[in-house]
Symmetry: C2
Subunit: 183 residues, 2 copies
DNA sequence: ACAGCCATGTAATCGGTTACATGATTGG
DNA sequence: CCAATCATGTAACCGATTACATGGCTGT
């Protein structure tokens, strides 16, 4: 999927432009750091992703690079151009690409398709373990309750809701399989 | 990330092995068709993904290829080996890799971080549009209510729950931003 | 002064997507 | 019989990850 000229931005590209919009001109390193500490990004924010990405965005004139010598070292600080801002807003939507609204892939949901591959007792253990991990994850997420701005916290509220929904769903699966088994 | 020898399987590899477990020996085409009609896979199930993937799995001795001439045409039907079954069960877990339990990436959640980039009236429209799309998606998912086996339906129940949770969350965002604005 | 970390990248690799090629099968 | 579609792949490309390289900076 080429992204030359008018193409839709990828999720990671949108996030990076969003960072620049939110925090102003930044180096690639600053962008990476924020992605690394973010509670809910699935990217590793590896250098090999971010540095070339910003170079691509510069070629497309969505950002401009300024020489930002920090101490004695040369670096590039990137800033949104008007075109970049426009593309960022287009990425935000609406309209929404279909995979923005379609349900996110859930590895646990994928695995439930195949729960028939294990005996009932193992299934019970399995669901207990998954619920336990989800609750632990819920605790980790809660640690971010007081960080960021209002929008960051609303975003976190979404992550918490989704995690609680997954827990409730697995409880439903437990119940359904229990009934299935006792028939 | 190399997957030679004892490596953990990727999601797509796990799904393909799961298909073979569930439906018995299959051609690459059969695997593709099921992924294409599946209500909730984010893969395009492109030929360029599936055919090489099965060839890789064969090299790793997780599947065996049998000449399955259909009519006059040669094709390969792949079947799980005992090693493949073992690796499939290991992929199912537990233990769970951290990204199995950690929250799935949600493009709408990503975008909420940046809602401050638009004026309040546009935000209102934005959230209405997103909720509308999610409800439409909910309807599409519901069409699968009576398909598949018990596990497929439980999996679908998870997708429905997550979608409803996203709708409720966006309603919460609407309310919170309304209060924020009226202050 | 020098060990260890910070910051800025680059290179190799890998898996997935898009697009293409090709022959068999089927419908009108 | 010919067009359209089915079925089986292959090739080029692309973006992300891992691993590496390098040089400045910082604490002891």
């Amino acid at each position: 999927m080429t992204r030359g000229r008018g193409r839709q931005l990828s999720e990671l590209e949108g996030c990076v432009l969003g960072h620049l919009w939110k925090h102003g001109p930044s180096t690639a390193y600053a962008v990476r750091q924020e992605l690394l500490v973010s509670p809910s990004s699935h990217w590793s924010a590896s250098a090999g992703a971010i540095y070339p990405l910003l170079q691509r965005l510069e070629l497309q004139r969505l950002v401009t690079a300024r020489e930002a010598t920090r101490g004695d070292r040369d670096a590039s600080a990137y800033a949104l151009t008007p075109l970049g801002t426009q593309q960022f807003l287009r990425w935000l939507g609406p309209p929404f690409e279909s995979d923005v609204v379609s349900i996110a892939v859930d590895p646990l949901r994928t695995r439930v398709h195949f729960l028939g591959a294990m005996p009932p007792r193992r299934r019970t253990k399995y669901l207990q373990a998954a619920i336990h991990e989800l609750k632990r994850h819920l605790g980790e997420l809660s640690a971010f309750r007081r960080t960021g701005d209002a929008f960051d916290r609303l975003s976190l509220a979404g992550a918490l809701r989704l995690t609680r929904a997954r827990i409730a769903w697995l409880a439903q699966v437990q119940g359904a399989l229990g009934r299935l088994e006792s028939k």
